[in-house]
């Protein structure tokens, strides 16, 4: 059973959906734990492939009232957003949705008499979810992050000016994969030998490697971990805060060598649980970033269900 919601929050009109078969809009004597899911980037609140609504249906069936909301300007919620996708992503990664999210959590907890909320999100939505720890609110009970994005996005605006930005982790991985492919490609060799090589590609690659080498040399001997230039430091600080506050956290990411390298570049250890800080990290193999193919749609929902029922178990009366 779903219910369409429209809430006025901090001057925004936010559209959302409540999955609560057991008690739609029925006040309860005992406070329950709710779940709030945020979409990634520009997508509406059901997410690509309806992954978000499918997770919410399953959590609802388990007894957890689950909310999904569109942030301002996205999905059904009115509001202005930039013309370009990369600028929208950058705004989200820098925390443009942080304030509406705080206010939304408070409103939902109050309106539905919840003990608090486990806040979850996908990619950029995971970053927004992570920012919810900054308020240090007792209503924030846990975090679920799917494919969290650690890097700021390149745009043509001055904040992270692409033309002067060094090679990013993503770009480096793509380039090295491309080099490998070109190295074993007959067509690539024949282009090189006939003088028709893609010089722009090679120049860009050499520039990136030199830049990377120079930065490594600069910090040689230093004990401090060198973070990639495009690191979203604000997000990383919130990550560390969540670990320090021991907020129960589940991270779900793609289990591929490239993705693991990506997270390791930011000093994280994908797939490794941190018992002390209550972090669980699950890797789903053989899928893409959207977490749909290769059976990932079911696997993601199963992992969230399992983690939620282990961390916030329901009592015999169905109260978490």
């Amino acid at each position: 059973m779903r219910k369409a919601l429209q809430l006025d929050i901090l001057g925004y009109r936010l559209f959302g959906t409540l999955h609560d078969s057991s008690a739609i809009a029925q006040p309860r004597a005992v406070r329950r734990t709710g779940v709030l899911l945020l979409s990634f980037g520009q997508q509406p609140r059901s997410w690509v492939g309806d992954l978000g609504s499918s997770i919410a249906d399953r959590l609802d069936a388990r007894g957890y009232p689950t909310f999904r909301f569109d942030m301002p300007g996205l999905g059904d919620s009115p509001g202005e957003i930039p013309v370009y996708l990369e600028e929208l992503w950058r705004d989200i990664l820098l925390g443009i949705h942080e304030a509406p999210l705080h206010a939304l959590c408070e409103e939902l907890a109050h309106r539905y008499s919840l003990k608090g909320l486990v806040v979850g999100g996908f990619c950029g939505g995971a970053v927004t979810a992570l920012y919810s720890v900054n308020a240090r609110s007792p209503l924030m009970l846990g975090l679920v992050m799917l494919e969290p994005e650690m890097a700021l996005v390149r745009t043509n605006t001055p904040l992270v000016r692409a033309s002067h930005a060094p090679l990013t982790v993503d770009a480096y991985q793509e380039s090295s994969e491309l080099v490998r492919k070109r190295f074993i490609s007959l067509a690539s060799w024949s282009r090189l030998l006939s003088g028709k090589a893609d010089y722009k590609f090679w120049l860009k690659l050499w520039y990136g490697l030199l830049d990377y080498g120079a930065r490594k040399l600069k910090t040689f001997g230093s004990l401090k971990k060198v973070l990639p230039e495009e690191t979203n430091l604000r997000m990383l600080n919130s990550w560390l805060l969540a670990r320090r506050l021991r907020i129960p956290t589940l991270v779900v990411s793609v289990g591929s060598p490239n993705r693991s390298k990506y997270y390791r570049a930011y000093g994280l250890e994908p797939g490794v649980a941190e018992i002390k800080s209550r972090l669980q990290w699950v890797e789903i193999p053989n899928t893409t970033h959207a977490m749909l193919t290769g059976g990932a749609k079911d696997a993601v929902a199963e992992n969230i269900e399992r983690w939620l029922s282990d961390t916030f178990p329901l009592t015999s009366a169905g109260i978490s």
Binding site: M1, Q43, P44, L74, V83, G294, K297
Partner: protein, 287 residues
Amino acid sequence: MTNSSLRDDFAKPPSFEHLEQADYLSLDQQQLYYVLHPTGLPLRARVLLAGPFASERPHRYITWVRWARYLASHGFEVMRFDYRGVGESTGRFEDFGFCTWSNDLRHCADWFQQRSPATPLIIHGLGMGALLGESLFAQGIANVLLTWLPPKTAREMLYDQLKIKMANNFILPASERKTRDQFVADLERGETVEVEGHNWTPDLWSESKKFGLAENSIINPHVKTKQISLDGKLDALAVHTLGGVGPNPMRSAGGGPSMRLVNPDLTACFEVTCGQLKHALIALGGN
């Protein structure tokens, strides 16, 4: 850069976003999600938006919603909805197909028209929605049909959407890489194929054979309602945004690295289409 910076502020139409309402209709034990965009201006007509296929929905959503708001700010009351098994509507995608989605459109049209039967009803379909809209229009439902980027047939549309499956599988182990024709062969053998999180069933594939523009365009001769069918004219920017077709027309040669469009200013296309609708209403004898 924001969209508003591109627009002529003193010519800005009124906004009725504060009047928008989302809710559910009940249909065969499922919940059909809809959003109503009322207008604060004298009502010209009602526009029922029939959205695209499931895998296109999230990528067209922002523009589709902005179009609904544009119409509301020009005197049209707009309703948009999600087909059963898709988006905010309930049900499993694999349990439904083109016939049920056509029934969903019919159900919404009936509900919407009941609000004031004398007001003209316009069905506007995008992609698959255009096929379903045409089918309904041929039965005499609605006064005006407007189509954007209609596929020739539902089967052609599904075949085209299989490219998403191929793109996703490209990074998976080589054993899982297949051509579109191999996926079609799987469906025809009775297997289910997952595409962008939705399970395509053999029934969906076989049903797609029945839905096509040529077959549906025969208008029922017993229908007495005066009807007008409009082929929406889209510029390159609108085709790129609404259909994912062609290069980004806003990319300037020699500019910085290309950025992707999420919310381009489509006012020019919206104005043309809105003008088409107004002319059609005048031809029907309305305002």
